[in-house]
Symmetry: C2
Subunit: 256 residues, 2 copies
DNA sequence: AGAATATGTCCGGTATATCAGACAGGAAGT
DNA sequence: ACTTCCTGTCTGATATACCGGACATATTCT
């Protein structure tokens, strides 16, 4: 659906494109990839760089993201009480249990990680902030999907027989498999992800509901498989305690 | 200077505006504040929300930032080798010394914090990521300004007698005062900020140069004044070691 | 050294996007 | 219940922005 302002759409497309790449690119690459005429592309880059959203590198004759993009992202995080509140509690939990912890929200069929707290000396995790992964393959995604209303689930995954993309050749292969998995998640009150994203790692997650009861986010802890499997219910319990604390502070219903 | 694409400028203005607020606002507020006609404002909001940069809250009849704004910010951080590399080292330093650490870059007359690592149980610091503060009042800003070429300094602060904004009624009051302060910073190799931003806190910072020798960023540690003042040279030494490690890994000149 | 290619800027014709205003519906105030 | 105000959508006239192409300069290739 067109907004009726193609220049606005194009400039956002350029911003999007610059943020997904590995770094600065020539203007011709932007023009060609996005199908925007050359002179128009320069106008859009001028608008972006005037506000610091893009930066020109004359030496390399390339254009890259500007630091204002970073400020926009931080502005978003700052406006989310959920993010601010969770970060502190998740850092404490990461330290106490010596695991990684994170918070993610659903966006389409993906989750996006908004908070990530590693334990000191902890390994790099794929759930770095800003990363997006298929919801059905992640513990956080499953925790959220499990508590979506049926109509929402149907809108996201219309046909039971539809095959789902997998990684490490693990994970639910069809929407029907996913539904079964989510049924188990609802019964337990927490979800797991067993080496379906990264070999050797195991995650436990639980949902965070907002004040309307909507599954707004999920928090998870991730650790070495051998260590986490020793006490999954215990870890899940700690996680749900943190989730309840977050919901209470946010004025959530806590699962009503 | 106009880019020749007012719609592009306006949509970026809306994005900027949404990111600086405390949260979602009515469309009329956006229209009035930015001086954009109502129907045009709805078109721009449609373009923003189509890509997830803005979110509509029908219940409150307001518009707020979307999670894609967060992704853009993370995209920026991910593309900066300096950010990725520094975060790990600063986290280690924060843990070892039980202080807060951070990294900032210069943007105009301000610094923007790109990395912040607190010690476990450490207090909330004003240098949260995304925050911007006047460069002349911060340890990181002073560390960067001290190593800018003379013409750059003159461009930023043209007249020696110009008064500078202060906080806590401390800090250099004129550009001339600032120059003296920066001279001391150059001589020592590190800068300090003594309760000029937050009462009770003391910061030490040192510059990070890129491969051309340009002062690209600065790293700092911040702690309780009484604790830090015990061993400023020792802490500064540790900080400069970290800075050298970062520069070496980035292929910097290390202060040539 | 010369040719080819790419970048960045500029210009003007024409297709079209902007925007004032109308309208419908919802929320707030009386 | 009624009135007022606000939000969100829609329409069409006209001012203007988009974009093809030209040009200058820089970089890369032969």
């Amino acid at each position: 659906m067109s907004s009726g302002s193609p220049a606005a759409e194009h400039v956002l497309a350029v911003l999007d494109f610059l943020s997904h790449g590995k770094g600065p690119v020539p203007a011709a690459t932007i023009s060609r990839t996005l199908g925007i005429p050359r002179s128009t592309t320069y106008q859009l880059l001028e608008a972006l760089s005037a506000r610091g959203f893009a930066t020109h590198f004359p030496d390399d004759r390339t254009w890259g993201l500007g630091v204002r993009a970073f400020e926009i992202g931080s502005g978003y995080a700052k406006q989310q009480p959920l993010v601010l509140m969770s970060a502190q509690l998740l850092r404490q939990l990461a330290h106490d249990l010596q695991v990684g912890t994170h918070l993610a929200v659903l966006h389409g069929l993906d989750v996006i990680y908004l908070v990530e707290e590693r334990s000191t000396h902890g390994p790099w995790l794929v759930s770095e902030v800003g990363v997006r992964l298929p919801a059905h393959l992640t513990a956080t995604g499953r925790a959220i999907l499990a508590h979506l209303p049926k109509n929402q689930m149907r809108a996201l995954y219309p046909h039971g027989s539809t095959l789902l993309p997998v990684r490490q050749n693990r994970g639910p292969k069809s929407v029907r498999d996913l539904r079964d998995l989510l049924q188990q998640t609802r019964q337990r009150g927490w979800s797991i992800e067993n080496e379906e994203i990264t070999p050797g790692f195991f995650s436990v997650a639980t949902v965070i509901r907002d004040y309307t009861g909507w599954p707004a986010a999920a928090i998870a802890l991730t650790g070495d498989k051998e260590k986490v499997e020793n006490d999954i219910p215990g870890l899940a319990q700690r996680l749900m305690q943190v989730a309840t604390t977050i919901e209470t502070r946010l004025g959530g219903t806590g699962g009503i």
